[in-house]
């Protein structure tokens, strides 16, 4: 049977969703896929209840929430970690109690979980950097935009890019920034960099709304757009089309949430679940960006246009 799952837990199950912060749009959308999935599973009688907590960005509070979920003896806990290490002990405790733990997006360190589900952050950085090398023919000056300092995800993506940069010394990194994954601070930082650097050949943006902020900075300062990497943020994809820039994007699918719930229930029902499930990163480029934009209306203006998903996809991912 799957990791952690023990005892006679019978359907319908109670699921705890320990969110770190529910307010950002990516989180809202992710929570949408979770509640939708739970509705589906309620219909089939597999799930009884979904308990949602919101730690308001405080890892310490998240520990408290997970402890409460253990106290309430939920059957499964689905969690995005507020810190890659901080939750290790409380999650191990939950695992020891036989609760199915499915951890996605921002991962914990401990292996005492039922499953960790994520895309490969390192590969994210590497692929983006490779694309940049190809675009610039291995030569040019680039700026790297990182997420906040001290966060594993932003660090992993950056580290993933490093070997590629090392292998291509022609690509010169002028400078790097760290900002929150938000448009306004990214735009501010990029604008200052634009004034300081008359020559910029590419922007290696490592996620979120950073790319949109960068493109807007170029646009407002009347600078010619340069090749820019990014994610499936609707705003970035729209700007990409509108400004006709050379773009590349990938996706951290919001349905990782739904998939995690699905996985938890599978594990509780006695299925064998692999402890580490890597969801492949799609590539969005000029060839398929239109197909994403065609569905843009269904997503919030500051949201992420994620790909479709269904049970078949989930089963395939579980079986891989």
């Amino acid at each position: 049977a799957a990791n952690c799952v023990k005892g006679d837990r019978k359907a319908p199950f109670t699921i705890g969703w320990a969110n770190i912060y529910s307010v950002p749009t990516w989180m809202k959308q992710t929570e949408g896929t979770i509640t939708a999935e739970v509705e589906e599973l309620k219909k089939t009688g597999q799930v009884k209840d979904l308990m949602i907590t919101d730690a308001q960005g405080n890892a310490q509070t998240q520990i408290q929430h997970i402890q409460s979920m253990i106290d309430a003896n939920v059957d499964a806990i689905v969690v995005i970690a507020g810190s890659s290490n901080a939750l290790d002990r409380v999650i191990a405790d939950a695992c020891d109690k036989g609760i199915a733990i499915v951890n996605f997006d921002s991962l914990v360190n401990t292996d005492k979980v039922t499953a960790k589900i994520n895309t490969d952050s390192s590969q994210w950085g590497a692929t983006a950097a490779k694309w940049m090398v190809d675009q610039l023919g291995g030569k040019g000056k680039i700026i790297i935009m990182n997420g906040p300092a001290g966060i594993s995800v932003s660090d992993d993506r950056r580290k993933g890019a490093q070997p590629v940069l090392d292998a291509n010394p022609g690509l010169q990194v002028i400078t790097e920034t760290n900002t929150d994954y938000n448009v306004a601070p990214a735009q501010e930082a990029m604008t200052s960099l634009l004034f300081a650097n008359p020559e910029i050949d590419g922007v290696l943006s490592l996620g979120g709304a950073l790319s949109a902020g960068s493109v807007m900075a170029f646009d407002r300062q009347g600078r010619e757009q340069v090749p820019t990497t990014g994610e499936n943020a609707r705003q970035f994809l729209e700007l990409w089309k509108e400004k006709g820039l050379k773009g590349w994007a990938t996706m951290q699918p919001n349905w990782l949430g739904a998939f995690s719930v699905y996985t938890a229930v599978q594990a509780l029902e006695g299925k064998d679940v692999k402890p580490k499930i890597t969801v492949p990163l799609p590539v969005i480029d000029d060839s398929n960006v239109d197909s994403y934009l065609a569905r843009a209306d269904k997503f919030p203006a500051d949201g992420y246009i994620y790909s479709d998903y269904d049970k078949a996809l989930f089963d395939k991912l579980l079986a891989q």
Partner: protein, 317 residues
Amino acid sequence: MNPVSTAVRGLFRSPPLLTFLLVALVWLVASLTLRGFGAYGHLRYLLELSAVIGIVAAGQTLVIIMGGIDLSVGAIITVTAILLPLISPAADPSGIVGIALALAIATGIGLLNGAGAAYLRVPPIIMTLAMATFLQGLLVMVAGGSAVSVTNASVIWLGQARPLGIPAGVILWIVVAISVLLILHRTPMGSRFLALGANPVAARLSGISITRNTLVLYALSGFFSGVAGILILGMNRQGYVGIGDPYLLTSIAAVVLGGTSILGGRGTYAGTIPGAILLVTTTALITIVNASPGWRSIMFGSLILALLLISGREARR
């Protein structure tokens, strides 16, 4: 003592002037040493960014002068930026109605803060913190917490236009600055704020109503946060949750850097203006420097401390 040295001394005893001099000095040194820093476009952009902080800090200055503090400015900015596109009626092409509605909401929130502080006797820090939490909840509910791109013509104009080469946001800031300075130093209301901040008991026994002035002040703070929210919305074309967060601490920092006492009763908006510019400039400087995030953070903190050493001495006992 000769008049010149007296004048020079007076200048060094005036925190606002001193802070202005600091800004000028930092700009001068930076533009001589850093490529691209002194470009007109760059300075203009820095002023534009400062305008947002400056406008938020307008309300914050008044509130702090009266001995309070407003921790809900960030949340009010976000609420305004997210609600405005939703409530701008399509029938009004100018967009003025939407702006008026949004400002009314922002002012209303401020008024609620004031009512909590005045009638329920909740310390302002608690009241406004709770209000910020409350508004977060509201945002999660409204529109699923996500934004809509702005189509309101006036808002876009405000964020993008440059009449006579000066960004509209900066012009707005000038208007706000003049109004606040007038309120603070040329109307009875401003003197009442100062008196209440320095000694509420004496002020009350002199016939100055704590209740009424508290209401007015927090409403004003809400209003200015709303104005800033609209300006940010125009500059970004789109609001999102968290757009106002960076302005909470920066607004307070701008006020204190400008020489206003956090304990109330002493200070002026004339100091907050260079305080805001100084903060933005420092951030921009640190952005350009190529260093690891840890070192950048250390440099930023040290720079603020160093500037404070020059401008922020408190009077000796």
